[in-house]
Amino acid sequence: MIGVFICHCGINIGGVVDIDGLVQKVENTTGDDVLVYQNLFVCSQAGQDLIKDKIEEEGLDRVVVASCSPKHHGAIFSKCVGEKMNPYLWEMVNIREQCSWVHRDDPEKATDKAYALIMGGIEKARKLQEIGKTSVPLTKDVLVIGGGIAGMHTSLELADKDFKVYLVEKKPNIGGNMVRLDRTFPTDDCSMCTISPKLNEVTNNPNITLFTCAEVEEVSGRPGEYKAKILKMPRYIDEEKCTGCGTCGTVCPMAILNDFDLNLAVRSAAYAPNSQAVPLKYSLDRDKCIQCGLCEVVCEADAIRYDQKEEVIEVTVGAIVLATGYEQYDLTDTEYHYEHPNVISGLELERLINSTGPTGGELKRPSDGKRPESVVFVQCAGSRDRRHMEYCSKICCMYATKNARLIKQEDPDIDVDVCYIDLRAAGRGYEEYYDAAREMGVNYIKGNVSDVIPDGDNLTVRLENTMLGEIQEINADLVVLSTALVPSEGTAKMTRSLGLVRKEDEFAAPFHMKIAPVDTANMGMFIAGTCESPKPIQECIVDASAVASRVSSFLKNDEMDIDLVTAFINPEICVHCGKCEENCVYGAITEGEDGAFVVSDISCHACGKCAANCITMAVDYRYYSDIQIEAQIDGILAADDDVIVAFCCDQCSYNAADLAGTAKKQYSPRIKIIHLPCSGRVSVNHIMYAFDKGAKGVMVAGCLKEQCHYIDGNYRAEENVEIAKKALSLMGIEAEKCEMFFMSSAMADKFVQSVTEMDVRC
């Protein structure tokens, strides 16, 4: 029994659509199983009571509400119907924003359209099924990958919220790049002083289990219950016994370039990255160790273990946080002559002016240890550059200013020039910090350096001083390149092994840059810090706090309920081609034991791409199923013979259409919109089905190209439209009668333009 409730919405619908006539027509053209009612405001208490009463009285098992947009009052009716039956057994038909408001000039056609839409809604309602829920247990432990400032702070906040955290760090020490820095802008506090408390807390916190010299090898499972394999590489020194005394390091005969000091200094094969390393434990670099045995002789703690093996530790966690950070771009073999010893990167300068660095904090240039009389900073080295990285690395203008100030403070006689395209000082206290730099005598030259030319130990920096319109060559004893920040090796590796969406520049992509900046498209996986994009320390802390909050919400209960509006795969039809798995950006589809593919309900975002592109149609959805979509098309096209079907996506184009309605823009009533979660839900079959049933044209409207809310649904839709066009041509129908359009929620004009275009073409 289907109950159809038609709303007047005062005169909003009633003033254009002939409601009485509509009720009559629906009654006359349907059987006894359809009951039709009308109300002035169905959303009102009276209207809602009407629905609930009729469900009881008449034993309704399906409900159709024809009123405003589901985006407006959908939630009200969902709740109302949900009190009496499964909340997925009702359908909302939009006859206001997408009918009465946009066809005011033609009440007769508006009424006809409302009729067709309602008939579509009825047919779809017939095919609706109960949607159940499922509960999945949630493990309260968390895996944090990367022990830099972002990873550590996330771990500490989570530990504080009583989560058990596994923190995995690749290097022998934690602290990431931040422990290499000297002072930090705009406060000029010593980096180590700021981070030291955190380093120690992390090692002492009972809720945090720290693995150093370790990497995450493999992650499997599902959100709420991820299984991770941690591979711990041997230090060849017993971590429990080592006291960090360093005697092994002093007797070790080897001299190896020290990665911590960015190869500006040497260390032994028995080493700790630096004197302040946390944990202060030594390691043996077995690649370079000659096994002379001296360290074993002198070690009072008897901690040397030449035969130590790697260990595999398996953990089960509910959520994973990626915080693997950045590294500096390599400018070897460029016009900057980075190969020259006195052309150094930003991080290298940090080591040279840091008191724990290779020169004890005295500014000495690498080639001859001479104190430079002139230092030139080259901004945008590798950033904002289509030959290297197109993006701005955000922090370089400030850290170059910081270092320029520090040098000037130490010795005002040193000439310091900063050569830039734009000086970006956007942040609290930044502009004032920059003002002070200029007052100190740091010379800012607005010109992008074209060449760094070696001249023995010295260098010549060439640029156009654009303010003067003069090409200049500046002599420099030391050149510091403000090198672009790029995703670290760990970031590149882990985004791939975790199946995270990457941006074009290979940084880890957030779910939504503005409103979900620390979530990812993968449920239960979060990102913090510079693995997402270049940012200053305070933003890493903010990310970490945000992630802790998000993880906490995600894992707040012991179980998570999910509505099964998700996809499912029929193993008997599945031909094991794996296309669905390829298409799924959420990693929700995996190969099952018998070869057929399986959807993880908890990971599925119900976008529709898998079903729309399955060649055997083995994949379908429980809500917005193929049968439901086809039924809706049937209903509309049986009721009206001059229809242009418009598949619109819930995130963007449907809203654009609603906005067109709110703005009272007028367009042809031939357009009948079918609401889908994502344009990617549209398959070639759906399009051909519509034409087969008599549609004069079919359009698919999705999000703007780079902004699909399901990442790439609109691209899949575009591909399917192209295929449909070819199929139509082969059938003798002009390909232009089928088209793909892109628009955002705000682009009401674009929506009207698109439907008008279709109206003309068809």
Partner: protein, 157 residues
């Protein structure tokens, strides 16, 4: 010169005036030419075709390679030169070269010294080229005429 096609093809609107082009320029180091300035002026719709500096560029393409934003600097300069020619503004000395190409088929024609060297080296006295092929040469000259180059530079043939 707010010419949309010009702006689109040359991508001049992407310019951020960083000056890397000027600083990379071999002519810039040795003359008044500031590539950045020419681009800025063209972008602003100023009249650049009369500028003498336009003809100081050696079209070495280093600025184009180095431009971080991908502005088609050399294409812009060449297009501006083409327009300058249409307005009759170009270095007179090139006319001789153009006449030479029309009259002999070569940019630098064969001279007695050239003939002497060729013979001495055991090459054919006169190289295989268009000058020795009457029909090809006629067609070549016809093409040049049809395309209107001679009129543009005020040469009568």
């Amino acid at each position: 010169m707010k010419d949309t096609e010009f702006l689109e093809d040359t991508k001049i609107t992407k310019c951020v005036q960083c000056g890397k082009c000027s600083a990379s320029c071999p002519a810039g180091r040795n003359s008044r030419l500031l590539t950045r300035k020419i681009i800025m002026e063209a972008k602003s719709g100023m009249d650049v075709v009369g500028r003498e500096e336009l003809w100081l560029c050696t079209t070495c393409f280093l600025c184009f390679e180095r431009c971080p934003k991908g502005v088609n600097t050399v294409d812009a300069i060449i297009e501006l030169r083409n327009r300058a020619v249409m307005e009759g503004k170009f270095p007179e000395v090139h006319v001789g070269a153009i006449e030479g190409i029309y009259d002999t088929g070569s940019g630098l024609p064969l001279s007695p010294d050239g003939i002497r060297d060729r013979s001495m080296l055991g090459l054919e006295k006169e190289p295989e080229d268009i000058a020795r092929n009457e029909e090809d040469f006629k067609n070549f000259q016809k093409l040049i005429k049809e395309l209107g180059l001679l009129e543009k530079v005020g040469v009568e043939r």
